[in-house]
Amino acid sequence: MNLISEIGRFVIFMKFVLHRPEKARVFWKITFREMYLIGIDSLLIVILIATFTGAVTTIQTANQLLSPSDLYPTQLMPKFVIGAVVGTSSLLELAPTVTCLVLAGKIGANIASEIGNMKVSEQIDAYEVMGINSASFVALPKIVAGLIMIPCLIIIANFLLLYGGVLACSATTSLTADNLIEGARLVFKPLYLKVMLTKSFIFAFLITSLSAFQGYYTTGGALEVGIAGTKAVTKICIFILFFDLIIAQLFLKS
């Protein structure tokens, strides 16, 4: 029952958010600022996480497939298979899902606490009394900025995952960068790109809209603002994993 009323509140919130902005120039000015905060400010963490995850995934996959095993003759295993595994998992899971789970913590908590703080300090009420649609004014620029910047971050993360793999190859003797790239190219399907982009847009919407929603309905004081941030991150992570499963089922069901 609680979940249903929460979904109902979210739908009503979105109905107010998806309104034409009061003044286009002001809207785009705020949106560009948000694009900087969401995109450029998150670049470093995305670069670090993607590069390291790519390197670790490559080393671990190579270890599992090329180490001597009683199950199959590992010397017969083509080395490009490691590239195929790393390339495909980067596109389908690591770049969109892992990056967005990290961004949920960074961007989601930030948006929820920023809007929550505005709510408890009556700034949201001030917008309302002025005749401004406060939900749209505070949330829409963040959602639009997220929808533009998060997919860009995910595309960057995808390249960096492979780059991390290439770096890991240079540190090992069992695998070369050519093996890795060749494998990734061999199994590439346009469908994988479609899945990655679909996930990135849906996850971007979930991160920005759920955190804005959580912040907008904050009541109380500083303590509740902190709680709103934590709740937002938890909800975003759950929904990302849930939609990850649904998208995989829809696009990749064999």
Partner: protein
């Protein structure tokens, strides 16, 4: 002018406001007084549309605010200014950007005209040399002045002040009171001040409504309050407790 007719407000199964009827005239300092929890903030929030009453009418001129459609309500709100208890200044904007904000959103003024208007409002609230400062860098009294300047930036008809003296020293409180009265008279605004500061009541209260447990308990002017205390036990208790 604002007229309230038979206003009721409930929170779940608890009634907060009981059949409030009154009238607020322009150019007059209208005060809503009462103890904490009496319902005066709820009354103001209902009047500006931050809360929805369960019964009654709130008439701005001849328009019933409650039954107006969302779009018309938003238009009417552009004639309303509000000074919040915690000032509600936008902390990412400087003092002048805060005052410029409603002008940028709703006026068709050029940047030069807006700048002129911002300076005019700052002059009205006697605040100088703070244009480029952020709210976190100025004192409580200055924040109140910025709040008033922002509220009057657009040519408003109605001004609501929720506890304008809260957190201020007695001297600054008197300055803010005088400022509110001056602005009310000069621009012929319908001003409604929510207060529990008896000094304010006796200084500027031309039209006073005393709210007790969600009901309008007494209504009159500052000159009548002394006489009313003799026959009104609750008003007398509130008056004595305020000093």
């Amino acid at each position: 002018m604002i007229k309230i007719e038979h206003l009721d407000k409930w929170f779940d199964d608890r009634q907060i406001l009981f059949d409030i009827n009154t009238e607020f005239k322009p150019g007059v300092a209208n005060l809503v007084i009462g103890a904490s929890g009496s319902g005066k903030s709820v009354l103001i929030k209902c009047m500006v549309g931050l809360l929805e009453p369960d019964n009654g009418k709130i008439l701005y001129g001849d328009q019933d605010f409650i039954s107006l459609e969302y779009h018309h309500k938003q238009n009417l709100r552009r004639e309303i200014g509000m000074l919040f208890q915690n000032n509600a200044l936008f902390d990412s904007l400087t003092v002048e950007e805060n005052i410029d904000f409603p002008l940028r959103m709703f006026s068709k003024m050029s940047p030069e005209e807006r700048k002129e208007r911002v300076n005019f409002c700052l002059e009205k609230v006697q605040l100088t040399n703070a244009n480029k400062k952020y709210p976190a860098e100025i004192s409580g009294g200055m924040k109140k002045r910025v709040g008033i300047a922002r509220a009057i930036a657009l040519e408003i008809k109605y001004l609501f002040c929720d506890e304008p003296n809260s957190g201020l020293d007695p001297l600054t409180s008197r300055v803010i009171d005088k400022l509110l009265v001056d602005i009310t008279k000069e621009f012929n605004i319908t001003t409604i001040i929510n207060s529990h500061d008896m000094k304010t009541v006796l200084d500027i209260g031309e039209h006073i409504i005393f709210i007790y447990k969600g009901q309008k308990w007494w209504e009159g002017g500052k000159n009548e309050i002394t006489e009313a205390r003799k026959s009104n036990k609750e008003l007398n208790e509130f008056f004595l407790a305020s000093f």
